[in-house]
């Protein structure tokens, strides 16, 4: 990954990207478990044997895709958490950011949704581990807010989990939206749901 990379390494990186991109594209319409070495190399314009210079097998390629999928999600979460402003604007921005992310990086989001409960254990575990890290990150950010006064770690984790789950299922819903109108309805629903959660949060320490 160093910038002092020889021509050979640079070419190898490029081939690897070619395989990952071809895989990602093919995975929009099928499962990782059903994806073949020959299929990916064909789509990437490489001979089948070449695959093994980059990955041990398909699961290995899958794990690499999880890593880059979640790297891009990390950017999203950060940008939501760094938002400032009142609760309403924060909710609007959050839903906007999710929608934009899904439309800008469809393939990665679809891959995550599909393989999160998919048939390849290593990949499932990689996704679960990363989502847990998100929830932690979100929990840490929540802890810094004044509204979190008096909340225990457990309570913060539970709230963070609720937000992460909501984010994931909203993203999945956007993914399936057949047209712009459906997208608008999903966004409206997601905003209301976040508002309801926000209300619950505000009154958590009342009763």
């Amino acid at each position: 990954m160093s910038h002092t990379m020889g021509a050979r390494q640079a070419q190898k990186q490029q081939s690897r990207r070619g395989l990952l991109d071809a895989g990602l594209r093919l995975l929009e319409e099928q499962n990782l478990a059903g994806l073949g070495v020959r299929e990916v190399t064909r789509a990437a314009g490489m001979s089948p044997a070449g695959f093994y210079r980059h990955f041990r097998d398909m699961a290995d390629l899958g794990v690499a895709l999880v890593e880059e999928s979640l790297a891009s999600l990390h950017v999203l979460v950060r940008s939501v958490l760094e938002e400032r402003g009142g609760a309403e604007e924060l909710i609007d921005r959050t839903v906007e950011v999710i929608e934009r992310h899904v439309s800008g990086d469809r393939a990665h989001v679809r891959f995550l949704a599909r393989e999160r409960h998919g048939g390849v254990r290593q990949v499932r575990e990689a996704v679960a581990a990363e989502l847990d890290r998100f929830a932690e990150e979100v929990g840490a950010a929540l802890a810094l807010q004044p509204a979190a006064e008096g909340w225990s770690d457990e309570e913060l984790r539970m709230l963070a989990g609720l937000y992460v789950e909501h984010m994931v299922s909203t993203a999945a819903a956007f993914l399936e939206a057949p047209d712009a109108d459906a997208g608008r309805r999903i966004a409206a629903t997601a905003r209301m749901q976040l508002r309801l959660v926000s209300l619950g949060r505000r009154h958590w320490k009342d009763g």
Copy 2:
């Protein structure tokens, strides 16, 4: 399905069940898209060609599994909706029912979680349609509660959607729980989340 079924039809039904059961078992560890005709018939003790007396192809078998998976989920939703009692007991019972359902019908629940965003369009659409029906059913039940006074249809649908999503993700979490202790933590978190949603609901019409 009539009780006046000849021996021939009864045997055919039994073979069909054998295929469905074998498929369901194999699908605990892999995707529908990766499941083979030969694999299923082998597990069911039938010759490969026999498969075609029952299903057109694997997607067809998958759709049949969605139907029975959701029939069993329907029972669960009904039993939750028919609960009476205070909010706290209702929440406790809901989480209990979900946990019991997951441990009693693991294979069906896993199948739904896996194929909901899986690689077979027909199956994905069947699952989505059924989950929508659930949300409607839940919404209709919510509308009958005194707490729903003044709520618009849209608001009720949004709340029902939140509950259904929460149910699904809680079920998926139970599925992955490695031991009883993890199960207890998941249940505790789910209860708190439902309590928070319940609070939000109570104050929805305040502001």
